[in-house]
């Protein structure tokens, strides 16, 4: 067995088009590639010359799975540029909207994309044959999230009610009557989901990750906070590009995010300098912000024996379930305390300058930076989606897992490698406008 390879030409159950390749030589891993062959769409380029006010609706089209994340990062960036703060009930409604996206996206991933791996099925349709109750529970949970987004913002995919400063139209209290009942049922089902995922068979695999997530003194992070890590990083969102660096790695033909040395020189030590790959997403948020979860979410985590630290990426399925439970809980809290504010959006004046926004997409931190001209047109845009940031960590996981499981059969190893990638819930469609691609190989159909 001198030369072997694990090769998946078209990764299934991820959003977008990617492939993976792990080469082994003489009992060790010689090459790892997580490739993207999705065609580029050039969002940063065609945003130039568009109105600042169009950014939420245009950037939503980067991703049909997490459009709200794009809308939230873009409006926060614009508000930063214009020096306005959206607070009170409008801020709460934005959290509420994000709850809907987290519930929907996490339920999709847990039941339809991730669980089939643990139980040995090709997809959720097959899973439903033997586990109909679980899959139906997942679909109901997902629907509760989608319905919440539709009530608040018109439709679940590319919702239409988000604008710079707030919303186009405010919901009335009674608009939430029906969804509140659904969310209470969803909360019970999310609790069951936490316990159910904890019964899945987890491969034995851990890594000392650098977790990167937002952190806020008063709440589990959605829209605001500092960017922090478990290895000493604490920065404002506007400092993102000073610390995170996108570099061209020739062997993968991809721009990958890494952490540069942290900003203040006095903080640079051997453990916090030149760190490279990092992980963003549910596992990072959870390990860094567990104390901010609701009592019910913490209780479920305890019952599932899934309190942090969790260093096994396969267990991200349970972490997503705890986050979905938290999102149900948080949504119910916001709705029960909702008093419609006087205006649907705060007033602001357009002013030229840079705007920075970073929010917690279901898959991790999503960074937007814009330069706005005096005419209100976008002069420059930079968008860094979570999957672009996780790409290097995904390759590191593949290398480490294969290295310690090199004796595994090719079929099992292939399945495990796919599952390792799916642990990140990668959204390749998001990442693509940003990543390099190599279309010449790993072709499809």
């Amino acid at each position: 067995m001198s030369n072997r390879a694990v090769k998946v030409d078209y990764l299934a159950r991820v959003e977008g088009e990617g492939s993976l390749l792990v080469r082994m030589k003489d009992g060790s891993v010689s090459d790892v590639k997580f490739r993207i062959f999705e065609p580029p769409r050039f969002f940063e380029a065609f945003l130039r010359g568009r109105k600042y006010s169009e950014a939420p609706d245009i950037t939503a089209r980067i991703c049909g799975i997490c459009p709200i994340a794009y809308q939230m990062s873009s409006v926060h960036a614009m508000e930063y540029a214009f020096g306005v703060k959206v607070g009170g009930q409008l801020r709460e409604l934005r959290r509420l909207l994000y709850c809907g996206e987290w519930i929907e996206s996490h339920a999709l991933h847990i039941y339809m994309l991730h669980a089939p791996d643990f139980l040995g099925y090709d997809d959720a349709i097959q899973l439903a044959v033997d586990h109909p109750d679980a899959v139906r529970r997942g679909l109901r949970l997902k629907k509760a999230g989608n319905d919440l987004v539709a009530v608040l913002a018109g439709r679940e995919i590319h919702p239409i009610n988000v604008r710079v400063g707030g919303f186009y139209k405010l919901p009335r209290r009674r608009d939430f009557d029906e969804i509140l009942e659904k969310l209470k049922r969803a909360r019970d089902e999310a609790y069951e989901t936490v316990l159910w995922t904890a019964t899945l068979p987890f491969p034995d695999f851990e890594y000392d990750y650098e977790f990167v997530a937002l952190s806020h003194p008063d709440e589990y992070p959605f829209n605001e906070g500092k960017i922090v890590s478990n290895k000493g990083l604490t920065i404002d969102v506007r400092e993102y590009e000073l610390v995170f660096h996108e570099r061209h790695v020739p062997y993968s033909n991809a721009l990958q995010s890494t952490i540069k040395s942290p900003r203040p020189a006095e903080q640079q030590t051997s453990t916090t300098d030149g760190r490279g790959a990092y992980l963003t997403g549910p596992l990072a948020r959870y390990n860094l912000n567990f104390e901010k979860l609701s009592p019910l979410a913490k209780k479920a985590a305890e019952e599932a024996k899934a309190k942090p630290p969790i260093l096994n990426p396969f267990k991200s399925i349970t972490v997503r379930a705890v986050e979905a439970l938290y999102a149900c809980d948080e949504a119910i809290r916001i709705i029960e305390n909702y008093e419609p504010p006087a205006e649907a959006a705060v007033r602001y004046e357009v002013r030229p300058g840079f705007g920075f926004g970073c929010t917690e997409a279901p898959r991790g931190i999503l960074y937007h930076r814009y330069l706005i001209g005096a005419d209100g047109l976008i002069k420059d845009a930079k968008i860094v989606p979570p999957t672009a940031q996780n790409q290097r960590m995904i390759e590191t996981d593949l290398r480490n897992f294969v290295t310690s499981n090199i004796q595994m059969s090719k079929q099992d190893l292939t399945l495990r490698c796919e599952q390792l990638v799916r642990n990140y819930d990668p959204c390749i469609s998001c990442a693509t406008h940003f990543l390099k691609l190599d279309i010449s190989e790993e072709t499809v159909t």
Partner: protein, 262 residues
């Protein structure tokens, strides 16, 4: 018809090109209908949902996304050959999508803005709808599509009947819903008069004008609407941008936006 596997059910495949995945997600978003749909058809190829990838030929090929690379041109031709019926879904597949904004620009410049090493990027000058390359049996509009319309279209093809999808304007839906016209009552610019129905006229019911995500209706009078937008104080540039979004390269919208170029 393609040979049916042991299930005897029609084989359906879902393919992706340049897109956000939202339209194919609509199928998974039909939470209450999904398991019923899946029991009536054999989902033979749908990588976003399943590892199982059964080779063609297929009874129905559903295509999301626009054609943007030389490789994609070859791929869509192969897909056409292996699909008895070909249905395109969403603004990308039916009109080139938001990424068709490149069609008015120098693509080399675009590649430079996004990518540090442009020599690696293989791309066509334009983002075009699937129908520019192969015959399409049905085009379902929307950015995103309406999931109930998708189920209706699949159902219609399986039963060899015409899909029941309206082609009238969003205005008709506003009247049916009893939504007060945002353009008449508040002077809000709105593409509703020229945009095809299907979304449920949601934007006007949320106090904003329609932004045309379902593309042009049948026989739209875009020039008359543009004149009205001008009356409301919109500049040539505003009007150009209004028609140049998610369905920018749909014929009627393309021509109207070009009429307002400065």
């Amino acid at each position: 018809m393609p040979e049916r596997r042991r299930t005897g059910k029609p084989k359906v495949a879902v393919f992706k090109f340049a897109s956000c995945d939202g339209c194919q997600l609509s199928l998974l978003d039909a939470e209450e209908e999904l398991l019923d749909v899946a029991s009536a058809i054999d989902i033979a190829y749908f990588p976003e949902a399943s590892r199982r990838m059964i080779r063609g030929p297929y009874d129905i090929g559903i295509v999301e996304g626009s054609i943007t690379t030389p490789h994609d041109v070859e791929r869509i031709r192969d897909i056409r050959k292996s699909s008895a019926a070909l249905i395109t879904i969403g603004a990308c597949a039916t009109a080139g999508g938001i990424q068709a904004l490149r069609n008015w620009k120098d693509i080399k410049n675009y590649v430079h803005i996004v990518y540090a090493s442009p020599e690696y990027v293989s791309t066509l000058d334009r983002s075009l709808p699937v129908g520019s390359f192969v015959h399409v049996d049905y085009e379902l509009r929307g950015c995103p599509i309406n999931k109930y319309q998708l189920i209706e279209v699949i159902n219609a093809f399986l039963n060899k009947r015409k899909p029941n999808v309206y082609t009238h304007s969003v205005c008709v839906d506003c009247k049916l819903k009893g939504t007060t016209c945002v353009m008449v009552s508040r002077g809000e610019p709105c593409l509703g008069p020229v945009t095809q129905s299907g979304c449920g006229a949601i934007c006007p019911s949320f106090n904003r004008g329609c932004y045309g995500c379902f593309g042009p209706m049948e026989f739209p009078n875009t020039a008359a609407l543009a004149a009205q937008l001008k009356e409301l104080g919109e500049t040539k540039f505003d009007i150009q941008l209004a028609f140049r979004t998610f369905n920018a390269y749909a014929d009627a919208f393309r021509k109207e936006s070009e009429a307002h170029e400065q």
